[in-house]
Structures are given as C-alpha cells and as structure tokens.
Amino acid sequence: MSKGKSSVSIIIDNKPFQVPKGITILEAAEQNDIYIPTLCAHKELTPFGGCRMCIVEVEGFRNFPTACTTPVSEGMIIRTHTAQIQAMRSDILQLLMSEHTSSCLVCAENEECKRYSGTIRKSGITTGCRYCSNDDQCEMQEVAEYLGAKEIVYPISYRNVRVEKEDPFYDRDYNLCILCGRCVRMCQEIRTANVLAFKHSGRKTVVGPAFGRTHMDSGCEFCGACVSVCPTGTLSEKARKWEGKPDREVVTTCSFCGVGCQMRLLVKGDHVIGSLPVIGDMVNDGQLCVRGRFCVNEMVNNYQRLVRPFKTYTDIRVEILWDEAITTAAEQLKNCPPDQFGMVASPNCSNESLYVAQKFARQAMNSHNIDTTARSYYGSGFNEFLSLMKKSVSLDDVRKADTIVCIGLDTRFGRSVIGVELRKAAARGTRIVTFNSRDHNLTLIAEKWLQPTIGHEAEVLEKLVALTKSGKAAAAPKLPADAGVSADDLACAAELLKASKSCVVMIGSDFLQYENSDHILTTIEQLAKNPAIGVMPLPAQNNLNGTFMMGAYPELLPNGCASSSKASRDKLGTAWKAKLPSAKGQWCESMLQQGSKLKVLYLVGETPHGDKVADFTIFQNIYPPDKAIHADLMLPAAAFTEEDGTFINGEGRLQKIRKAVEPPADTMPDWKILCLIAQEMGIKGFDYKSVKDIQKEIASIVPAFKGYDKPSRAPGPIKCDGTLTLSAPGVENMPKRSKKYPFLLTGSVVAHSYRGFPLSLYVNGAKTIFPEGVIEINDEDARKAKIKSGDDVIVESGTLKGHWRVSVIARQPRGTVHVRLRLGETVSHNPHAVSMRKNDV
C-alpha cells in the first residue's frame, strides 16, 4: 500500500500508468511521452488555463477539463485526442487564427516551400517567405501543424496595432499575441520585475506596462525572460531576429560579471547567435541579466573584431603574419629590463590565461610587474575588497538568510539574477534593508531604505555598527543633521540586524569609486564581526577571484601567496624550475595614469591607459584599440566563446567555459599567444599543448584548483594569505557645497566592460541602458538651473572641468549630480562639490 500513498494509477489513451500524486494531467502525459498540445502552459510557470488547447476527455467529467490545470486522481481514465476533442481544439485554434492572421500557417505552398524554399511571388527566386522571425521555432506553428489547420475559417480580425520597436534588445508585435499570459507570469512570478500586466479588458486586452509607457521607463530589466517563453513571434530579439533556428547549443559560463551564470550559447554555423539561461542551475536557475541574455552575440560577433596581427609604422597600422608578430614581440621583450616591463591583464581572462600571463612576467621577464585593471576600479578599497572576499558567504546562505542588507547595490541592469533572488527572499518574508543614496530598483521590496547624503556613507555605517553592538549604543558618534538618515530609521535597521539569526550584507558597486571606499569597506567588515552577519561582496569582474588565485598581481603569487615571502617564491621557483626575482618592485597598474614610463607595456585583454605610456606597447585583445590610441603591435585574441578554460566566480565556484565556435581567422587564446612569444624568447616551461596541460600545472600549485576537470562548483571564500599593499590609501574629505559650487558630484566608471571594451561600444541596445558621458540631475534642480535633458553642460570645480550631456531624472537626490563617465575619464575627487552651467555655443 505504500505505493498508493505517493502515486496514483491512471489510464491515458487506453494505456495504464503509475504517476506521482499531485501532478497535473499534462505533466503525467509529458512524463510518459504523450503529446498534448499546449500554448499557455510552461514548465517554469504556474498553470493558467487560458488557451484551452490542452483540453482532454476524462471519464466522469461532464465538461472537458484543461490538462494543464487538472490534477490527476486515482483511477482517472483520460483520452487525449478523440475526434471530438480534436475538432474542438481545431475550433479554438481557428478562433486564435482569426486574430493571428499569418500566411505561415495557411500558405498553400507551405510544404513545397520547406523543401525548395520557393516563393509564391511570380519571380524565379528561391528564398522562401520569411513572414515572421519566429518561423520554424514557433509553438503556434507546431500546434497548427498537429491539428492540420490549412485555412482560416472565421472572419479575419487583424488588430492592426503598431509594432513597438522603441525599446532596446527586443521588438513587440502585439498583432501576433495570443494572450497566453506566459510573459506576464514570467515577469511577475519568476522575475518579479512586474513590468508586464494585462491591460484593459475584453477584446481590447493587451499586454504591457502602465500608461502605454516604454519598457525602458517602466523598470524593465531587459532580462529577456518574457521573450524566451513567448510561444509566438510577438516578442523577438532584435539582434537575432532573422537568424532562424540555431544548429546547436553549448553550455558555458557568462563572462560579464562575478555572479557567473551558466548559459547556453546558441550556435549557427560558425557564429554564436544568442544566449539563453541554463534552467535548474544552482547559481542562476533559468535566469540571466541583460548582459548575459542580450549582449554576448553582439559583443563577440562585431565586424570590427581584430582578427589578424597588426604592426604600427608611424601611425599606420599594417597587417602582418603571426611569425613576424611573434618575433617582433620577442625581440622587444628580450631587450627590456625587468623593472621597465609592465603587464596588465584583464580580470575577464580565464584562469589558464592569467596563470600563463603571470608566469610569463615572472619567468620570461624576470619581473613581478603584472597587474590587472581591477586595481584602478576598486581604487583605495582594493585590499579591503579582497579581505571581504576572504569572508564571502555564498548564494545558498543568501537563500537561507532571514535578513539581507544591500549596500550600494542596484540590480536593474547588472546582476539582476541576484535581484531575482532578493525578490524571492522578500516574498518568503526575508527582511531587506537597502543602503544607497540614490533611488534604485530594490526600494520596492526593502523594508527600510537608508538614504545617506552623499559623502556621509561611512559615517552612517559606522553609527550602524555601533548600534548593532549590544549595550554601548550610547557611545556611538552622533550623526550630523544632514546625514540624510534619521536616528529612528537607523535604530530600526539596527534592531533588524540585532534580531536577525542569519543576516547577509551584500555589497554592490555604487560606492566603490569613492575616494574613501576603503573606509566604507572596512566599516562593513566591522559589521560582519558579528557572527550572525555574513558578507557577500559582488565583484563586477567575472574572474576577479581568479586573478587573486592565479597571482596576477605584483604582491600575489599563484594560490594568493605573498610575493614578498621568500619561502613562497622559492617554492614556486622550484615548481617552475626557474629562479624568481625578489619582490622589490613597487610598480602597479595605477602608475600608468600617473605618467610613469615603461619600456614595454604588454596588455593582455586590456585597453591602453592614455597614450604612449611605454616605448613599445603590445596590445592583445579581441578588438583593436581606439584609432586615437597608439599600440605598436596588435595581437588578435579569442573571446570567451571561442576558448576552453575556467573562471572562479565571486562566491568562489570554479566554473568552466567551453569553446562554442572556432576562434575567427587568425585569433588565438591569450595563453597560446603568450606561450609562442615565450618559446621564441627561448624560455622553457611554456610548451603547453592544450589548456589541460596548464590546468594540471595550476592544480599542482593551487590546491583549490583540483578537480578542474569536473568542477564541483561548490562555493567557498578565497583562501589567500597575501595582501594588496600597493594601492594608495583613500582620502577622507567631506565635500562641502558652497554658493560657488552648489552641487555634489559623484561619478561612476564603466562597469559593463568586457576585456576593457564597454559593451555599449559594440552592443546596440547597451547604448540605451548604459549611457556614457551623461550627467544626471534632479528635475527640480534642473528647472532652477534652467537646464533640460539633452543640454550640454560644463561642470567645474577647482580641480575639474568636464563636458557632459544632461539627463533629468526624478530619482537623483536634490543638490547632487551623478555622472556616468566615459572610459578612462575621472572626476578628480569623488565625491566633490561642483558648479554647473549650460554650454552656450
């Protein structure tokens, strides 16, 4: 009888089955490979019962229940395709088709067309008709084919609504919408972004955001989850609209941020045409953010890719062969003294490439001068960020937490996968506190929004730390009246923290570029001294963790050992059968901005900082540098879709990337190029045949790398005993507004870049969601200053003169302005007081 408890016996189409209790008829049928046509049901979503395509006959039922909403029960006798049901289904389909008028369903040439791609036009071309971007991948077509629909019998009622193309990334043609509600449920139930809703009623029903707004204006995260589930061509991706059906899929890890989502690359021919999330994954379970969902194909496929080596002769770039490129590089490097060599690698590179890069610097160049651009991104708080990563909890802890504090986190266009987790947590009753001076997408779910005045963040956090210490709250420093956070609000947040049994503090990017970011981060670390509070720093770069573990810093050797320790150096030297230089060097990447000059600068997956910081610059990347920037030698590298390797995400999960397509033309993975140059220089130890060889070597030096072949992907905080000593400490300057400088300016640098190139450079839609050179101002301030959106302004202070374009947004706090810097720009002190005037020309 034990079987009877968990399963029921049913009969479907005269065959008996044992199926688990509680599932629906549709699920029971699917489990046993019986096809029932559906349009509104979707395995990720709750049943809706809207399209009635899945009606079945159940003995004892007077009407025809929908299989997707009806649970099975003991002894049920179900018939899925009796003549009567098929006739009813056909009728339902006909009703849909009368509004969904599409030749693709009823064209008389349909069959011929599939075979010969002929055309009904009276001309001798063989193209077939591409009526709809969803052709051949359409569930509506499947159902029509199953039911054998050949014509539209009811009077046609075409909706004739405008196709909505105003938003980035996807178009919407609601003439094709069958109101199945999948997109609405996806956006509301799973993404909980709540952008889409059914509007109006009866025949006028449409899907969309409030007041006919655009998705951009309605909080849409452009996660594309709605596009993925739409059974028709209503929602279509702009970038792969006419690409058709992909040939195959390759699972890999997204390289656009430290969350490390698993994605399926869609491949057609030798191109990656799109990317979709992996369903059921432990990191991102069926979700991606806009970068992973919509930016991969455009970022790796652009026609401007650097696909052959180039050499620059007095400003003219000349294509050369690999042989010449390698000898040129080797020659320059051989003649370069160790202390005049510098290598900057990208935190977007794979572990294997990073490892080979630092080995190249240390062994071939006898120099510790290897660094990554993460150093300037994290500024004064770099070491503090590393030290928080050593304590990082995992996403599973976030899922178990009863309280979550988000500091400087906005999950709209980056890490929206984390945003989904947060909203799910909120729905479970987890209490959320968000700490950010600007309005952001978490305010709706947060129980408390602490909105410190710009410049007072560290102070407010310090007070919070004091308040959460039991007892001596009275000794806490008094907050100034203009700190922006009331004593009550702070006390309330402190109470939440104190009452919490498991709390996670998540750290986003919003304060990282502040001059006192080290202070803010150390204060957060103090907060985490409380045993019930864990921290989770969310790195902006996908492989930041890997840069530490592979030793891509002057201060760090592989396995995160301090390069200042002779024992560690010797140990590594023995493994490499080489002698490592003593770590006297004080060079780091941020010195490039300060004008220190090198003999050779080698950029592995990075873009140059300023012009002519070295006598000879080797530039190795997937795109050429900006025309205005000088690079003596350009080497074409492979993108993450074109190579095998591993990444370590922010939580410390070791994850694989897989080659989906061959590297285009002459491009090669970074490690391979480095090895060729080292071999040309006559250095031993660079004869790796494949990534496997490198991985074996890494595993013998970095214990955490064991199991690289079948990574368990278990999370774990960084274990590394080195510290980053070369970053300059922060400055504490409380910016003061004055009559002359009435605005407080903050700046944020481009965080959405891949190998030094902002996504907005090559991805069309990214230009809209990641504007650059834009200064944001509150509507009231703008009115007073007589400035409107789109105006050019000059922003000045004693140390700054900037030209930016104005964007007026309600969410910018009054008296403050925020600039989204272009690549390579800085705002001198961040934050600081400035004046602003219209540029009248």
Binding site: Q188, A193, N194, V195, L196, A197, F198, K199, H200, S201, G208, P209, A210, F211, S218, G219, L444, I445
Partner: protein
C-alpha cells in the same frame, strides 16, 4: 491632489493588495481621474508595481486616466446607437477638439468618452453632456449643442 490628500486617503488602508480597487475609487472620487502620480504613490504605499496597479485599474472601464474637462461628453456606443451612427458623432468630436477618446480638449473645456448603452435606446444615437441627455443627435447639430457649455 497634494501630498497630504494622498496621505489622508492612504491612512484608511492597511497597504495590502486588496486595497487597490477601493483606493482607486477614493482617488477618482477626489480628483476625478487616476493620475500617473496617483499610481506612483499607490505603488510606493502598496509595494506593488505601477504596471500591476494600472493593469487592475484599466480592467474596469469606470476608471479614467486623463484629467477630466470642465464638461464631460459621453457618446453612446451601445448596439442601438452604434447602428444609428453614434460612431460619427464621436469622430466629429474627435476632429473638432483634436483629441482622442478619453482625452481632454486643449482648453480644458471638454473631455470625450465612449460609454455603453445608457438605457434609452429609443433615442439613439445618444450623447450625454454632463447630466443632460441628447437624443436623435445629428452630426450637423453637435456644434450648436455645445454652445450651451462654452
């Protein structure tokens, strides 16, 4: 409506999902329509997205989203009126004011709405201006009709 007016209305509610409809009613009573600001404030108060609130509100034809004019013109679109050419009156008004159904004329004097059967089909086509009912209307007579409300 001022911030305090919203506060006053909101103070009567707990802030749960089922408050949407009665809240909308109160706001429309007070202001005559549901403004974008009202939806934004409701969203903050209820912690439900503006899009969802709008979805619920737009389901019911009684809620309006445009500021009413000083006089309201309702054109009947019920079956009888439709058959008798109610549509033409509607179009005539649209042309005259340069507005679409649901909107308000630029000078704020009139707003235009379509309604379903008003229960006096014998008078079809029917137009209602404020509380006054006009039956057997002719497109050519509309201008004359409006004069009273200038």
């Amino acid at each position: 409506m001022k911030e305090t007016d919203y506060d006053k209305i909101f103070s009567r509610f707990k802030g749960v999902e089922s408050d949407i409809i009665p809240m909308l009613l109160r706001i429309q009573e007070k202001e005559g329509y549901i403004s974008e600001e009202a939806v934004m404030r409701m969203s903050r108060f209820l912690r439900i997205s503006e899009n969802q609130i709008y979805g619920v509100a737009s389901f019911y034809s009684r809620y309006r989203f445009n500021k009413p004019g000083r006089n309201s013109i309702k054109v009947c679109m019920g079956t009888a009126c439709h058959v008798h050419g109610g549509k033409f009156s509607c179009e005539a008004f649209e042309w005259q004011f340069g507005v679409k159904i649901g909107e308000r004329s630029d000078d704020g004097k009139f707003d235009l709405q379509q309604v379903n059967c008003m229960g006096c089909c014998t008078l079809a086509p029917v137009v209602q201006i404020n509380e006054d009912i006009y039956g057997h209307t002719l497109v050519t007579g509309l201008k004359e009709m409006l004069r009273k409300y200038e």
